[in-house]
């Protein structure tokens, strides 16, 4: 067996000297990979992102994470559209850690909300009522005024699917409340 292996290797192409310049992309990729593993294990980064090779390895992808925004106003409770959260939301979904969630919450303070003029219907079997949608930034539908928001509840969720049974459930990852005034974002009461 050893003899056959040695004969196979001897017949093979000779090893070439590694070009010194190759060390640049090698070290770069290894540095990125080490950062990736650190962020995955210590900060919840999805293995699908951040420079590793974990695509199609696990259902723990950024697409399984979402945020819920509930606006408490004088005219009722609205579901806030997440369209105005931009890169902050993408970053949180990729790496759902507390610091990013707090940054997302602080972003809410920059947003002006308007009635979106439509209802969002929940899943039929949930027993919940439809909720009015609020949109952030820019003019809303004709005639819509800016909402007077007393409090904003922000929650970060993860959707888990058990492939064996097909059951789906949500797991709450983070929760904060935003109020105008000093401090802004607080833990819920």
């Amino acid at each position: 067996m050893t003899h056959q292996l040695l004969r196979f290797l001897r017949r093979s192409q000779p090893a070439r000297r590694v070009h010194p310049a190759l060390w640049v992309p090698v070290l770069l990729s290894v540095a990125v990979l080490l950062n990736h593993f650190n962020r995955v294990h210590n900060h919840g980064l999805s293995v699908w992102k951040g420079g590793g090779m974990g695509m199609f390895a696990t259902q723990e992808a950024s697409g399984t994470r979402f945020v819920e925004i509930r606006l408490h106003t004088s005219t009722g409770v609205f579901l806030g559209s997440t369209a105005g959260l931009g890169p902050s939301l993408r970053a949180y979904r990729a790496e759902p850690e507390a610091a990013r969630f707090r940054a997302l919450c602080r972003r809410l303070g920059d947003l002006e909300w308007r009635d979106g003029g439509r209802l969002r219907k929940p899943y039929a079997g949930s027993g919940r009522e439809p909720v009015a949608v609020a949109v952030a930034g820019g003019p809303g539908p004709a005639g819509s005024e800016e909402l007077a928001v007393a409090r904003v509840e922000l929650r970060g969720w993860k959707l888990l699917v058990d492939p064996g049974s097909g059951r789906m459930r949500h797991r709450l990852m983070h929760e904060l409340v935003y109020r105008d005034g000093p401090g802004g974002c607080h833990e819920p009461d």
Binding site: F8, L9, R11, S12, Q13, P14, A15, R16, H19, A21, L22, V24, P25, V26, S29, L33, L45, V47, K49, G50, G51, G52, M53, G54, M55, F56, A57, T58, Q59, S62, G63, T64, F66, V67, E68, L79, T82, R90, A91, R93, A94, R120, K121, P122, Y123, G125, S126, G127, R128, R155, W157, L159, V161, P163, G164, G166, R167, M168, H170, L172
Partner: protein, 298 residues
């Protein structure tokens, strides 16, 4: 002269297989530029300056072999990745690393360039396959088949393939995907959710895909580590092509597929240079993959 010899003597074939003097690097850089144009980085710090670089290249084609040109491409690619580092797709990192390799290659004397390009391709392909195997091994839901069962249940890209192979109806799969999307809607946050449907056929298919994909990537990584005879080189490249053809048909992440094809092209040794034509063919095939062919069969 046989027909095959006649084909190999054709100037176009010789150019595409990189057996002319400048053909190899021209094909590699051209395919890389196509990848950057059509499946590059979406950040404004890349898109706007790269438009200028692409126009410059069209007006002055020799820039394709200029180190400063590739340095600028690498810088803007790096900026795009850096600014989106947490949510950039992993193959965008690989594309950035590849632009660094090309920059470094074109800073070398002419006789060293092909060698450095090949070594860079060899390293990055090994890195991709080996790390994919490592992360699939470490993932808690990959080797059990749970991940691909989940993907077949919820990902619309697998609908046609799943329906064709398992007989699951497109309506059932569409209902699964609709329920899954509803579960990701914030209006349903915290609510009791319905269960998805997954038959035994889907689980078996998931298990097959799991192990075929895993073992193919493992085999490619191992073969990239070993010094090989021409015969084993052919096996290696056939395995790589066997990885590319089905994976990107089902999950058309074309930019990633193109990158792997470019690396495969680079790694074909001169003795079997005709195999590079296969990679050029695959590059064009992946363009066609963007059309939803499988949906026509369901």
């Amino acid at each position: 002269m046989s027909r095959i010899d006649g084909l190999r003597a054709q100037p176009l074939f010789r150019h595409l297989t990189g057996t002319t003097g400048e053909g190899f690097l021209t094909v590699v850089t051209s395919l890389t530029l196509a990848t950057l144009v059509f499946h590059g980085f979406h950040h404004a710090y890349f898109v706007i300056p790269f438009q200028l670089l692409a126009v410059a290249f069209l007006v002055v084609p020799s820039l394709q072999r200029n180190g400063t040109f590739w340095f600028l491409v690498a810088c803007f690619s790096g900026a795009a990745v850096w600014l989106n580092w947490a949510y950039a797709d992993n193959h965008k990192y690989l594309l950035f690393f590849w632009t660094v390799v090309l920059f470094l290659a074109f800073e070398q004397p002419e006789d060293q360039r092909p060698g450095l390009v090949r070594q860079g391709a060899h390293y990055l392909l090994f890195f991709t396959m080996a790390m994919a195997v490592v992360q699939k091994t470490l993932a808690p839901d990959y080797l059990s088949g749970e991940f691909f069962t989940f993907a077949l249940m919820t990902d619309g890209r697998f609908t046609a393939f799943t329906s064709l192979v398992t007989g699951a109806t497109p309506d059932m799969l569409a209902e699964n995907q609709a329920l899954y999307r509803q579960a990701l809607d914030p209006v349903n946050a915290g609510a009791a959710l319905p269960a998805l449907s997954a038959g035994e056929g889907m689980r078996r298919l998931a298990s097959v895909i799991t192990w075929v994909n895993y073992l193919d990537q493992l085999a490619i990584a191992v073969l990239l580590l070993l010094p090989l005879t021409a015969g084993w080189q052919v096996v290696k490249h056939l395995l790589l092509m066997a990885f590319i053809v089905p994976v990107y048909l089902i999950a058309p992440v074309i930019g990633f597929g193109w990158l792997i094809i470019i690396w495969g092209y680079c790694l074909v040794p001169e003795r079997i240079a005709y195999m590079r034509a296969g990679y050029v063919g695959l590059f064009l095939l992946l363009c066609l993959y963007e059309f939803p062919w499988l949906d026509l069969l369901v």
